[in-house]
């Protein structure tokens, strides 16, 4: 019997949707196959299989580009079982930017999953994410569903992955009321002019975190501009095989944000990492290449900017535990630590809050399994990855876990409940805002 024929699931002719060949991705050539990334990869740690490691996935991409391996659903599965946490980039001695390899490879494949989920994702990524109005309408529907209990009732009729999505969704406390003013003056002397990217999920589910961030920025002397024409950063599109729509969203944001700002700020780590990639994303677009590069060059996570603007840079003093102190542990969002290399600033800000004792978990920078919409698409793996994270949180005995990214916050809240860890999940900006109030 022919093994290869049996090997490919669902490979019947006529069901294929994409036969695009894998392009040559120059970044692949920088991998020397040393394997030092393996044990830092959450999916390798769970499976211990080479195909679920960064080195293995790069080898798949390389083999296809060389024409030695044919595309298949199985290959797509390996490439999409990656969380996109980019811990391998931190581990890689050669500085291979796996995130970029994954984006290009997934773009050749198209969105993940079977026929149905790919169709749904395409609609969501192309026709919902780029449109703030439609997102707000969706939020209203979710809000209505949550208040009336309709969403729970409805969820029983849905396929498993969508049902989980509804379970995971945080309750929307209040619907967006009056849109924020377009320009908010600095409180006190103006020291900088910054533009604020609100994010889509961030502003729908955590609009109070955004409000807190804006207050903190203004108090630090920033005049905050909130451009009306801005759209979602496009991170989900970039990571799920939709580079063309991601590029459209990037161009709209670049057009919407005024030139001459000192910084473009976001309080969502995932958005920040994506916004910092615009220069790369639009490198092949002569009309936007330069503006994209300069836009990305000005993007700052709110923790970076607040740290830089603090009068005397705060220094964390994690060792001196105060008696009454609240023990807090910090969970590095992957796209802040691995994606943007921002680790020290949030810790310094957190450690300087009076009454807070920071106790590090081991390791603090391993993925929680949220990874955008990964926890909906790969629930079993996401739960396994989350388990290790929650045990690390538990071991600290902390009462609060801080993660400045909406996806992580949703996942950690779910994890605290699922694995019975008595811990509150907060965004750093909320804590800073409360401390200064």
């Amino acid at each position: 019997m022919d093994l290869a024929r049996r090997a490919v699931p669902g490979g019947a002719a006529g069901r294929s949707r994409s036969t695009a060949a894998m392009p040559t991705i120059p970044e692949v050539d920088r991998c020397v196959h040393c394997g030092l990334c393996l044990n830092q990869c959450p999916t390798y740690r769970v499976t211990r299989v080479e195909t679920e490691s960064p080195r293995g996935r790069i080898h798949l991409v390389r083999s296809m580009a060389e024409g030695r391996l044919s595309p298949s659903g199985s290959v797509a599965g390996h490439l999409y079982l990656c969380l996109g946490c980019r811990a391998c980039e931190t581990a890689c001695p050669s500085g291979v930017e796996y995130g970029r390899i994954a984006e290009s490879a997934r773009d050749a494949i198209g969105p993940p999953g079977g026929l149905f989920s790919r169709a749904v994702l395409r609609v969501v990524l192309r026709h919902l994410m780029p449109h703030p109005g439609r997102l707000r309408l969706t939020a209203r529907l979710i809000h209505f569903g949550q208040r009336t209990g309709l969403s729970q009732a409805l969820s029983r009729l849905l396929p498993r992955s969508l049902r989980r999505g509804i379970e995971l969704l945080p309750r929307i406390g209040a619907l967006p009321g009056e849109p924020r003013a377009e320009v908010l003056p600095a409180l006190g002397e103006r020291r900088a002019r910054v533009a604020f990217h609100t994010g889509c999920a961030m502003d729908l589910f955590f609009s109070d975190v955004n409000d807190a961030t804006i207050r903190l920025l203004r108090r630090s002397g920033c005049e905050v501009h909130i451009p009306r024409g801005q759209v979602c950063c496009g991170a989900l599109n970039m990571h799920n095989g939709e580079l063309a729509s991601a590029r459209r969203m990037a161009r709209r944001n670049i057009d919407a944000f005024p030139e001459g700002m000192d910084a473009v700020v976001t309080s969502a780590a995932g958005c920040g990492a994506a916004l910092k990639e615009y220069g790369h994303l639009l490198a092949g677009d002569p009309a936007y290449r330069e503006r994209a590069g300069s836009f990305s060059g000005r993007v700052r996570d709110a923790t970076e900017l607040l740290f830089a603007m603090s009068a005397s840079p705060p220094t964390a003093t994690p060792s001196t535990e105060q008696r009454e102190a609240v023990v807090v542990t910090y969970s590095d969002p992957c796209h802040l630590a691995h994606g943007q290399g921002v680790r020290a600033e949030p810790r310094a800000l957190l450690g300087a809050i009076p009454g807070v004792t920071v106790r590090e978990m081991d390791p603090p920078d391993r993925c929680c399994g949220s990874a955008g919409i990964y926890n909906l698409l790969e629930p079993e793996m996401a739960d396994e990855v989350l388990r290790e994270k929650m045990e690390a949180v538990r071991a600290t005995g902390a009462a609060v876990v801080v993660a400045p990214n909406p996806g992580c916050m949703i996942q950690l809240r779910y994890g605290a409940a699922r694995y019975g860890v008595p811990v509150a999940v907060r965004h750093l900006m909320e804590m800073l805002d409360e401390a200064r109030a």
Binding site: G10, A20, H33, G35, L36, L38, N39, T51, R55, S74
Partner: protein
Amino acid sequence: MNVSALARRLRKTVGDRHVLHRPDDLIVYEQDGIMVNKRPPDLVVLPATTQQVSDVVRIAREAGFPVVARGAGTGLTGGAIAERGGVLVALTRMTRVIEIDTASRTAHVEAGVVNAELTALLAPTGLFFAPDPGSQVAATIGGNIANNAGGPHCLAYGVTSNHVLGLEVVLADGTVVWMGGGAWDAPGYDLPGILSGSEGTLGIVTSAIVRLMVKREAVRTLLAVFDTMEAACEATSAVIAAGVVPEALEIIDGMAMRAVNATLQVGFPEDAEAALIVEVEGLEESMPVLVARLEEICGAHGARRIQTARTGGERLSLWKGRKHAGGALGKLGRHTIMLDLCVPRSRLVEMMQKVTAAGERWGVRIANFFHAGDGNLHPNLIFDFDPESEEFGRVVSTTEEVMRACVEMGGTITGEHGIGLEKREYLGWMYSETDLAAMRRVKSAFDPAGSLNPEKIFPMGRAVHTSAKSPPIADQSGETAWT
């Protein structure tokens, strides 16, 4: 029995999920840490217990397929490449730490336990597992044993075989035996010694009882920067000649330091041609004396800057820089081949001159970072052309010239990476036919049918990198779509 029938039988033993057969699942196992040789196995099996390994070996043997063991696949000589196809047994799922005995300072661990994870686990006890190869963050204990791995600290602590007390081994017919045990002196033949470095050709180690060392009271790590490689090598010889035996004594050259600097900030200079990393351990009181002595010797040999790591973090950072050097070579070129030579320490300078000359003669760039204290060199040949190309001949010529020079100086062609398929043709440079015949008899005693990691270690009379020409992996289904 054909592959499909074999797969069916193996699935019954280890479970469906742990027998891999699709083209994509096999192709990622076609090479290990080596870049230029490839061959996918017919099947990959991931057993979870010694009993399963035993069953897999027995079933494969009955079906007439060779069996190749593999750990994390970080080896540098192609030892874990299933060159003749067959069943690749990946031991990565066997990650249990069965027992840590702090009183007798031993640990019983399964073969798939990652070296650095064992060390991390032991940290609170003040004990550690001494072998520390550059790949330790990923490499498994089983792989360390199979290659008799070294590392910077083997200068003081010895190589892996010095730390193995007992081995649980699956033999070629599937029998499970213990060699040695938990005690320090096992009577009879030193079989753990024979298995160490045997690269899976004599049996498959499934668990091991290893010695643990006690962390010394104090440690100091120095970085001494030199303007020439020659000066760094001479300083090394002088340190040893002065009777100071550091725990580690490493040299890293300018090209490698600049590659590391591109991704890590560990304090390596941008403009120097060589640096020495020296580590000494002992009692706190002895540290100032030792450090002063090292500074004096390095200074006398022209070190332009000498600094001691001020914190534990700085020390770890220096080591991270050193251990990432191999992986950082991707910054310098598309392909690398890392050689692994040992020369008498008195001939370090001379050997390094030969390395440089060979690189210049054949037009191949060479980066160096190595265990200078025990004369274990790692010239890294860096090139951008394909291993299938004509130009690759220059790489092979460089390799051979360097190794020939090393043997002529009384050195060896491999210090700690093993022989695999990359060095086997050169074993005849080291041993006479009679010597090799004695080794072959050991192989025959353990594996008369030659089914365990066949054709490795011994000369085959073939071109060294024949398997570099890798065909497309068979996918007769005609499948070319993503789902």
